[in-house]
Amino acid sequence: MRLFFALVIVFLYAPIAILLVFSFNKAVVPSFPLSGFTLRWYREFVHNGSMRSALEASAIVAALSSVVAVSLGILASVALARRGFLGKSLVTALLLSPLVIPFVVLGIAMLLLFHVLGVSPSLLTVGAGHIVISLPYTILVLLPRLEQIDASLAEAAYDLGAGPFRTFRWVTFPLILPAIVSAFLIAFTTSFDEYAVASFLVGPRETFPIFLYGALRFPSQLPQVIAVAVVILCGSLLVVIGAEVWRRRAEARIEAA
């Protein structure tokens, strides 16, 4: 059994290892045999203007769409966590529906929608697409946490005369903060690496995955892209591990209180 697990890990990490190896490889096209060690790509990617622009664009889209998705997710989860209201299951289904829609259909539907509305494709339309994709994930993270929270805490606040907004601000919100952070991270990483929907909705300014797809076809920039990806991988690993550790500690502390 342990052997099986180990084999799966090898399978999962083989391509990552390949990427790591080729980020130090001298040749431009990744193929064997290897041509020699170099740190050149790591130095060069910093100067690649169009890649930097694409990274920036992706970061902006990811940040904005995540903030909106998480905000909407909070609103939705708060409403869904209450006792049933008319049409609750329909609303839930609608909100979670992007999960069951293939990206190609979603991308096209939104493209057509924007076309009819007369909105030209741009980073905003990509952001809108990403909000639609991320929202179900944020709800799936926030809703269980909200349901977990002892309802009596909120009731106590009401008894003490706090209105719904104050209750949320001072009672609910701090309790779900770790989940909010998780939701934000999930939304961010989903958006940052998203290619399929973005390919339909992108305007003149490219996002990083779109730039990457182009680099696959025009290999002169490929090694730099691989180097960037390795850097992003390490960075995100640190962030995710850090966030997860913090979340567990924070929730444990909250539960203990």
Binding site: S31, G118, P204, E206, R217, F218, P219, Q221
Partner: protein
């Protein structure tokens, strides 16, 4: 100004100011010249030049070789690039509201765009390198006598094969349909395959086949697609597969021969049914606020120096007849010594496809049956 194929709308206030300037300047320099200069100052084009081009043409390091001359003359109007994945992608983007100043479809689309009302003709007098451009290509960029397309890069569609593995039965397009090499063939992912099938099956006009001929071509392609390993859309896809030995025969461009020759014994075969020649055409969008800048950009692209750089770095031909690459092999593959290389009897220059929507539809069906 009469004769100018594009004019800026001037407001009434502008007109008055123009008249005053003209009156003043006219005393010194003569009316026509003064008016010209005045208009040029007033209608000074500003902002970055919006260029829509295929992926990969914007970097051209070092120093943006293809349009370095433009950058020197107009440092404040650096080009801002957007991408077109294909001509139909560009078309879709125009309908979705994109307004670049110029873009670069290929010769088969010139008539379509000229008729579409989306573009306006160029003024060749504003392009100093125009006189050096290959006359056959220049003619292909004309519609109803107006110069809608300025040719830039060009090449052939022919067959590349490894002579150590492949022994063709004839010097013919049939090689990419050869049953003996199942799984080792690569086609180009484009409706040009229907044209080539038509050429091979002796349709009267492969670019405008009758429904019977189309039926035959499409049936043929659906049957033969099972022999292919992949359909390539970018040369690097083809090179990767070819280099790895996954593919031995391919529908290919001259540069593919030059590149693969470095590793394998390969032949670039011009079939007896004749290869097809393709030419990139700059086209100017209507109502662009920067027509002069656009002409300047195209002029920079059309220079001999840019031409040579293009040939050396991309392996395509360049329309400037004086541009010669460093590689003698490329020179040979492009038949650059022959100014009639892109036209009969050497090749069929690609042209408008009146039933393009139908061809595209049918090609999708061919791919679906793969």
């Amino acid at each position: 100004m009469e004769g100018e194929p594009f004019d800026r709308r001037l407001s009434r206030a502008d007109m008055l100011r123009l008249a005053a300037l003209a009156a003043g300047a006219g005393v010194v320099a003569g009316p026509a010249a003064a008016a010209d200069a005045a208009v040029a100052r007033l209608t000074k084009e500003s902002g970055r030049l919006q260029v829509m081009d295929w992926v990969g043409y914007e970097n051209d390091m070092p120093h943006h070789a293809m349009f370095a001359a433009y950058l020197n003359k107009h440092p404040h109007n650096k080009p801002l690039f957007s991408h077109m994945a294909s001509e139909s992608d560009a078309l879709g983007k125009f309908h979705a509201g994109a307004h670049p100043d110029l873009f670069r479809p290929y010769v088969g689309w010139v008539k379509y765009f000229a008729k579409s009302g989306l573009v306006q003709p160029w003024n060749p007098k504003l392009i100093s390198n125009f006189k050096h451009l290959n006359p056959f290509m220049v003619k292909a960029g004309q519609y109803h006598g107006k110069q809608y397309g300025i040719p830039d890069d060009w090449g052939f569609d022919a067959i590349l094969y490894r002579k150590d593995k492949v022994h063709p039965k004839a010097r013919s397009w049939g090689l990419i349909f050869d049953e003996r090499y199942k799984g080792k063939i690569a086609w180009f992912d484009d409706i040009g395959m229907i044209t080539v099938a038509g050429l091979y099956l002796k349709a009267k006009n492969p670019w405008n086949q009758t429904s019977a001929e189309l039926d035959r071509s499409v049936k043929f392609l659906k049957q033969k697609i099972k022999l292919t390993k992949l359909l390539w859309a970018y040369e690097s896809d083809l090179w990767q597969a070819f280099r790895a030995g996954d593919v031995w025969i391919a529908y290919a461009w001259p540069n593919d021969w030059v590149q693969m020759k470095k590793k394998f014994p390969v032949v670039y075969m011009h079939p007896r049914e004749k290869p097809v020649a393709w030419v990139g055409m700059f086209m100017l969008l209507k109502n662009t606020p920067r027509p002069h800048l656009a002409h300047a950009y195209v002029d920079a692209w059309s220079s001999k120096k840019s031409g040579k750089w293009l040939e050396d770095n991309y392996g395509y031909g360049h329309a400037n007849t004086q541009a010669r690459p460093s590689s003698s092999q490329l020179l040979k593959a492009l038949q650059l010594a022959n100014p009639r290389a892109v036209t009969l009897p050497n090749a069929y220059l690609d042209r408008d496809i009146p039933q393009r929507a139908l061809y595209a539809h049918l090609w999708e069906q061919v791919k679906a049956s793969g």
